[in-house]
Symmetry: C2
Subunit: 88 residues, 2 copies
Amino acid sequence: LPADPVAGRKLAGQCKTCHGLDGIAKIPIAPNLAGESQIYIQNQLKAFRSGKRQHEMMTVVARDLTDQQIADVAAWYESIEVTAKLPE
Amino acid sequence: LPADPVAGRKLAGQCKTCHGLDGIAKIPIAPNLAGESQIYIQNQLKAFRSGKRQHEMMTVVARDLTDQQIADVAAWYESIEVTAKLPE
């Protein structure tokens, strides 16, 4: 099935404590995910799932995600528009 | 020395082809860095430098960075303000 950002938004309930539902991180050790490309987020979640990328928390989170769930949640975060403002 | 975002902005010249000088990524496989916390970026660059995190390009980029350079470039990207806009 094609990636579904609406389904991904629901799945992001388990991401929001650290990464925010809007993808702006709540804690300094977690990255913002807002506007990250679907492919980047997919690659990272699959790397956590396979063990190629290691992180105490994310390894556990990613372990049980299906490819469809990964695509959906990645599509959700990609769908958020980010704007950057340089310091003065 | 404390992290210096002005020095970091200069160093970011070598990041900008993929990540943008403003931290908005130019290519889908690279993450946005705008507004990521200094500690997150530092942790990732040190993980690439040590080999804990692997990436064909970033492993090479990080290899020769000093702790000071890592802190500086991380401070630059942290200093960029990001705003997220949810889809309608």
